[in-house]
């Protein structure tokens, strides 16, 4: 069921060893029903064969053959035993050669040996890509697309065939011409050939159908599928797709007017197609080099996610486009683990559109950093390209990347690949630790930088200046606080004038005087320190102190005056006059202090 690339001579040597004479098998195709499905842009040929063993001994295998003309286009060949129920037993295929005959041959291993005279019904499926040739090769926008198929009327087989029918299914009713071997009957979209009786082995007769086929002739000329596994619970899938319309080339202008107004204008062009993603796909994106392709739609169904992929422009014959589609999958659905053993089971290639044809596929499987003992099980042989390393967020020694490529794939190749590897779970801690370490270093550097002095020159003057400034600042605070105290005293006095409570006045005075004393002492100690630093500001502070003493005196006097007023020793008018002169003096002193402070 596979098509290995037998380009290597050593491969040929191996195969020649397997050559043997087929006729000796004594197998006969008792009854063959062939269906050639040409309704899409690929040819799907299915043949139901009733095998009869007429030989002398039981056989364990039979040979499948593909015509030499069709072999280059062969994308897939598979055989299955037609079971009674729905499920068919899929058979194993191995490529082989037959001496003296051209074409490709596959040896099919039967599930059980076929006894002499016994019959077995097998189903053979062959898919051919790029076999439908547009003719004419260039059409205008208004024209319909006609294609030619050239195949074989008979089943190409190493065994003689007793009876055979061939049914050709077409895409439309319009048929330009078809070969008329054995007077075939033509119904709406099908041509029936046969039955042909007693066809010799390896017989060929050209079947040619020229008919209208407007199905999308899309081909993926290359696809790169990147699967990135993260053990933090996510599998990211990204497909980069180059796509072209391989039908008849568009000749002449493309008129948007006709395309919009006439429904059959550009009938063979491709407007959109559907891509089916796994049901758990999230965060789907569809973009290209210049940004998001805004024309797509996403539909979440029960068992899948359907993306209506609409290229930026309709694809006419010969036009191509390029895009990237990507999504995330939860890893629990695809990643299996047992201790340190992990197994990833994912589709090697996924659905892009129905009846897809992929000319060249590259798969890159990015495993987590630290994955070892990697072992890959592919459903069909595939070329391994040397492993690479991939670096992304917080990687240190790189993630192993498995790279594989294969040409000419169709829908039947959507099968699972299994990757086994071991991974030490402790390595999961590496990434958080890296982040923590980076922040630690950052904060530590800031701490070091702030705490330590890195200046290369020692500037004593600046240091002194800084010291002085800090001292003067404290002086300023204290002086202001002291000025505040005076206002507080005034308040106390005022309250006293109203309440006439000598006890409160005295207690307030005591507290305030104590505060004042401590403040004055603090300031004078600071003044001493200033002097010690050799700053001339000390004198100014001294002056401030001196002025403050005067203020204090004035305050005391206004205090006494108030006491006298309350005691009734002075007249009110006299008191007010007195108070006025006192306060004006005080204000003057305070402004002088302020101006002194300003120069500090």
């Amino acid at each position: 069921m596979n098509i290995p690339f037998c380009t290597v001579p050593t491969c040929l040597l191996l195969i020649t060893g397997l050559c043997y004479r087929v006729v000796a098998d004594g197998l006969v195709n008792e009854e063959v029903k062939r269906t050639v499905d040409l309704s899409t842009h690929i040819a799907k040929i299915t043949a139901e064969i009733l095998l009869l063993n007429q030989g002398d001994s039981a056989v364990h295998s039979f040979i499948l053959a593909v015509e030499p003309e069709l072999a280059p286009n062969l994308a897939y060949v598979g055989a299955s035993v037609k079971g009674d129920e729905e499920e068919d037993g899929i058979l194993e295929l191995k490529q082989t050669m037959i001496q003296g005959q051209s074409g490709e041959f596959y040896k099919v291993q039967l599930p059980s040996s076929l006894a002499v005279g016994a019959k077995l019904r097998v189903k053979v499926e062959t898919v051919l890509s790029h076999i439908l040739r547009p003719f004419p090769t260039h059409i205008t926008q208004a024209e319909r697309q006609l294609v030619v198929f050239q195949g074989n009327h008979y089943l190409y087989s190493p065994y003689p065939t007793r009876s055979q029918t061939t049914r050709v299914r077409l895409a439309s009713k319009t048929v330009e011409s078809y070969t008329k071997l054995g007077n075939p009957s033509k119904s709406d979209e099908a041509i029936e050939y046969g039955p042909f009786r007693d066809v010799a082995p390896f017989s060929e007769d050209a079947l040619k159908v020229h008919y209208e086929n407007n199905t999308p002739f899309l081909t993926i000329s290359s696809i790169t599928r990147i699967i990135e596994v993260s053990h933090w619970g996510n599998i990211a899938v990204e497909e980069t797709i180059d796509m072209r319309h391989t039908g008849a080339f568009l000749k002449g202008p493309f008129s948007r007017y006709d395309y919009q107004r006439q429904s059959d204008s550009g009938i063979s062009s491709v407007k959109s197609f559907k891509t089916i993603l796994p049901a758990s796909a999230q965060d789907v994106y569809y973009r290209d080099e210049i940004g998001n392709i805004s024309t797509s739609h996403l539909q979440i169904l029960e068992d899948s996610v359907e993306v209506e992929v609409r290229p930026r422009f309709p694809l006419f014959g010969g036009w191509k486009t390029h895009y990237i589609i990507g999504y995330n999958l939860p890893s629990y659905e695809y990643l299996y683990t047992l201790g340190d053993q992990y197994a990833l089971k994912m589709r090697l290639v996924d659905h892009v559109y129905d009846d897809q044809v992929i000319d060249s596929l590259t798969v890159k499987l990015i495993l987590p950093e630290g994955a070892r003992n990697i072992h890959v099980e592919t459903p069909y042989p595939i070329d391994r390209i040397p492993d690479q390393l991939h670096y992304t967020y917080l990687d240190t020694f790189g993630r192993p990347v498995l790279v594989a490529s294969k040409n000419n794939l169709v829908e039947q190749h959507i099968q699972d690949v299994v990757v086994h590897y071991t991974f030490n779970k402790v390595l999961m801690l590496q990434e958080p630790l890296l982040v923590v370490g980076a922040f630690y270093i950052l904060f530590f550097t800031v701490i070091i930088y702030v705490r330590l002095d890195f200046s290369i020159t020692k500037d004593p003057a600046a240091e002194v200046r800084m010291k002085v400034s800090s001292i003067t600042e404290q002086v300023l605070t204290l002086v202001n606080k002291r000025l505040g105290l005076y206002r507080h005293m005034d308040e106390v006095v005022n309250r006293y004038k109203q309440s006439r409570d000598t006890g409160a006045l005295n207690s307030g005075r005591k507290i305030l005087e104590a505060d004042h004393r401590t403040l004055t002492n603090d300031i004078s100690s600071l003044q001493a320190r200033l002097k010690a630093e050799g700053s001339d500001l000390a004198d100014k502070v001294g002056e401030v102190q001196k002025l403050d003493g005067q203020v204090k005196e004035l305050v005391c006097r206004s205090w006494q005056e108030a006491e006298r007023l309350v005691a009734g020793k002075v007249k009110k008018e006299a008191y007010i006059d007195n108070e006025k002169t006192l306060s004006s003096k005080r204000l003057e002193l305070v402004t002088r202090i302020d101006s002194l402070l300003d120069t500090l």
């Binding site: 202008p253 948007r256 007017y257 392709i293 702030v450 800090s470 600042e473 202001n480 505040g484 507080h488």
Partner: protein, 780 residues
């Protein structure tokens, strides 16, 4: 004061984002109650609350600025916007894929066909190098970020740096509170956002940061007179030169500042050191940029700097001599020097008049009279509306800030005043220079707001606090050791405030405060609204809204560009009007004839001539230019007003400028002097290539039942020429909504088909030999 801290901090928590402006008054004081520790206490305190608060506010300003620039990314996608950014993106891409030297030596053969363009020598590489460097560093750390995302988010990230440098500059000019306010303003002000939304990957995005940072370092070096800061200023200036042509603003403003300082008798050794260092090192550094080259010593816009440099040297020399000489000697020397200087100036003026200044005048003349410059919408003069639109309340408050600065003038406030005045002038001349005005408006408004809040909020605090708790107001700069400058400090002492308090009741204060807060709130709302509505459209992707609010995305530009990229020959040459040149090069990756780097007027005129000629004349031009495809923008189907027919008159004018014999603007008007596309339009217009390409097959199209077929929605007219046939062109692609139409230029036929009917020659003459007849027949 300790209580004030907690109070502001609490407020801060309540309104973390927009409320950054509230904290104009929260200039935390260096001195607290526990300042016993002397030196260590004086140092530890400012590094505590104050820096934590500033750090938080700046961080939030950065965050707010960053996130308010993300509208376009959230609504659309991470995409490069508009036109010029596409070129920047393309060259950054080239830089990251091919390396720095390849980029410097890049000859782009894909633009200005057949001339090409030396990209490395004709760009300011700062932007590309910055983005490339960030990308390189990130990839070095295995952060696999695509270069497109680096480019898209570069401007929003730099807006944070801008607000930090604005903070630093304002702090130097006024105080920390004003600095924080200014940082918050610049983070969200629309005048700056307009050039720095995510995706607008343009020089201005990083240049405003460089501008502000250079000014900060300049003020710093003027204040300290230290060579260290001057060198820092030069490096920042170098970055600015590498990033934007607007560096000319710096190299004129700084000399102006020095000059005015000299006039104001504010010369000091600091000014001398700062400017001499700046001029020499800055000059040498700026000449390292290939695009700038020797311009700083050649062109007239750099001459002011050189003149001031010379003047400063002379002044310094005089000052020096004044100390050394007697008064008599000095006077003689002075007169000698003055007469010598006058002679030199006279000669220079004469020399310049005949060389450079002529160029200066002619270039400014060109700016007015060459249509290609006038045709760009951002070169139009600014309207009053756009001042308010871009700056909102700041435009009203910044004169107040300016007044505060002039009232309490010192060296650096002279600078900011000059900055403000010149920026206002330039912003009035050209819309796009609004950008240089915005930072200074933010700073001065912040100063105004800060002073108001200081006055009104600060007093309230005091009133609530018992007087004993009162401590000395402000003095944040003491701790950093900058003691030389007293004028910068608005010191209010208890007594002064007592005086001020008399006139203001607590009600007035709270009303004023509330009003101010309301203004700031409205400003924040306005900024968000403008950003969201006016400045967050990628203009590559259009969106329309249905009645039910659902959105349709019109992606025609990218559709057509991508078609070009995928389905034309790799070396196909696409002719379009120059607006789309960068986009075609960036998105379609095809060769263009003209692009937004409008360095060659005659080439553009040739394209304009092709567009405005009739088909056969245009075909000859297109053949001579090897054109394969012609791309035009047509908005008639969806009513897109920025299409090529609406720009068409500029094409005609530019073409007329170079080819006055072939193209005349008056031919495209009706006799009444109207520009009409309907039947009454001038026949020349109705048959020119642009008209035919725009309306090809449009005459058959009926958009809805109320209008006749061929009704142009943009110009609300039924087109005049419905029967359009092409001889040398064919429609190659039209996008879904007809917005972009691409025509293919056919190759010459192998044999020219005859247009007229063949003449049937009846062989009358008997003497015609059969041989001759026979040879003629195949031709018939």
């Amino acid at each position: 004061m300790a209580e004030q801290h907690t109070a502001t901090d609490g407020k801060h928590k309540a309104s973390p984002n927009a409320g950054g402006s509230v904290h104009g008054n929260s200039r935390p004081n260096a001195v607290g109650g526990g300042g016993k520790g002397g030196l260590s206490g004086g140092l530890a305190q400012p590094a505590g609350w104050q820096s934590l608060l500033s750090f938080t506010i700046l961080f939030l300003a950065w965050l707010a600025g960053f996130s308010s620039r993300l509208f376009a990314v959230i609504r659309f996608e991470s995409i490069i916007h508009e036109f010029d950014p596409w070129f920047n993106y393309r060259s950054t891409h080239h830089l990251t894929t091919n390396g720095f030297y390849e980029f410097l030596n890049w000859f782009d053969e894909r633009s200005w066909y057949p001339l090409g363009r030396i990209v490395g020598g004709t760009v300011y590489p700062g932007l590309m190098v910055t983005a490339g460097l960030i990308h390189y560093v990130l990839n070095l750390l295995h952060l696999t970020v695509h270069i497109r995302d680096v480019c898209v988010f570069l401007a929003p990230v730099f807006s944070g740096l801008t607000s930090i440098s604005t903070f630093l500059l304002t702090r130097e000019l006024w105080n920390q509170g004003a600095g924080l306010l200014a940082a918050c303003f610049i983070a969200i002000v629309p005048g700056y956002i307009s050039r720095s939304v995510a995706g607008s990957f343009d020089n201005e995005g990083i240049a405003i940061f460089a501008l502000q940072f250079t000014y900060y370092l300049w003020v710093k070096s003027i204040k300290t007179g230290s060579v260290f800061w001057s060198i820092g200023c030069c490096l920042s200036y170098f970055y600015m030169v590498s990033a934007w042509g607007g560096y000319v603003f710096i190299i004129n403003l700084i000399p102006l500042h020095v000059f005015v300082l000299l006039l104001m008798q504010r010369y000091s050794r600091r000014v001398y050191i700062a400017y001499s260092t700046f001029y020499i090192v800055g000059l040498v550094l700026s000449m390292q940029i290939p695009f700038v080259g020797f311009q700083p010593i050649r062109t007239s816009e750099h001459m002011a700097a050189a003149g001031v440099f010379a003047l400063l040297q002379a002044y310094a020399l005089l000052q020096y001599l004044k100390d050394r000489l007697t008064k008599q000697e000095f006077q003689t020397l002075f007169f000698l020097g003055v007469s010598l200087a006058a002679g030199v100036v006279f000669l220079t003026v004469i020399y310049l008049t005949y060389t450079d200044v002529c160029l200066l005048y002619s270039s400014s003349y060109a700016k007015i009279h060459i249509p290609i410059i006038a045709s760009v919408s951002e070169h139009q003069p600014t309207t009053w509306v756009s001042f308010f639109f871009d700056l909102h309340i700041l435009v009203c408050t910044f004169p107040a800030g300016l007044w505060f600065c002039i009232k309490n003038v010192n060296d650096e406030r002279v600078f900011v005043a000059l900055y403000a005045i010149s920026a206002v002038y330039f912003a009035g001349v050209m819309v796009r220079l609004m950008l240089t005005l915005t930072p200074v408006v933010c700073m001065l408004s912040a100063i105004a707001f800060s002073s108001v809040f200081e006055h009104y909020l600060g007093d309230d605090m005091k009133r609530e606090n018992p007087p004993v708790e009162d401590s000395s107001d402000e003095d944040d700069k003491r701790s950093s050791g900058n003691l030389y400058d007293k004028a910068g400090k608005v010191r209010k002492h208890v007594s002064e405030q007592e005086k001020a308090e008399e006139g203001l009741g607590p009600n007035i204060k709270s009303i004023v405060t509330m009003l101010m807060l309301m203004l700031l709130m409205m400003f924040a709302v306005h900024c968000t609204w403008v950003t969201s509505n006016a400045y967050s459209s990628p203009s590559v992707v259009l969106a329309s809204y249905n009645n039910d609010g659902t959105r349709n995305i019109l992606d025609d530009f990218r559709e057509a560009y991508y078609w070009l990229r995928q389905n034309t020959d790799e070396h196909a040459r696409v002719m379009s009007w120059w607006d789309y040149g960068y986009q075609i090069a960036g998105m379609a990756n095809r060769t263009t004839l003209v692009d937004n780097n409008t360095w060659n007027n005659s080439h553009i005129a040739l394209v304009g001539k092709a567009m405005s000629s009739n088909e056969s004349a245009a075909y000859e031009i297109m053949r001579s230019l090897d054109v394969d495809y012609v791309l035009i923008i047509f908005g008639g189907v969806i009513g897109y007003s920025g299409d090529d027919i609406n720009k068409f008159l500029w094409m005609v004018r530019i073409a007329e400028g170079e080819h006055p014999k072939d193209i005349r603007e008056s031919d495209y008007f009706t006799p009444q002097g109207e520009f009409r596309v309907d039947k009454a339009g001038s026949p020349v217009l109705l048959n020119c290539l642009m008209y035919k390409m725009s309306y090809y097959r449009f005459g058959e199209m009926q958009l809805d039942f109320r209008t006749p077929p061929g009704f142009d929605r943009t110009r609300n007219a039924e087109i005049g020429n419905k029967d359009i046939k092409f001889k040398h062109l064919e429609e190659a692609f039209t996008s879904e909504h007809w917005l972009v139409r691409i025509y293919k230029v056919k190759k010459l036929e192998n044999r020219e088909p005859l247009e007229h009917k063949l003449r049937s020659i009846v062989p009358r003459q008997k003497y015609t030999s059969k041989k001759v007849q026979g040879s003629k027949r195949p031709n018939m």
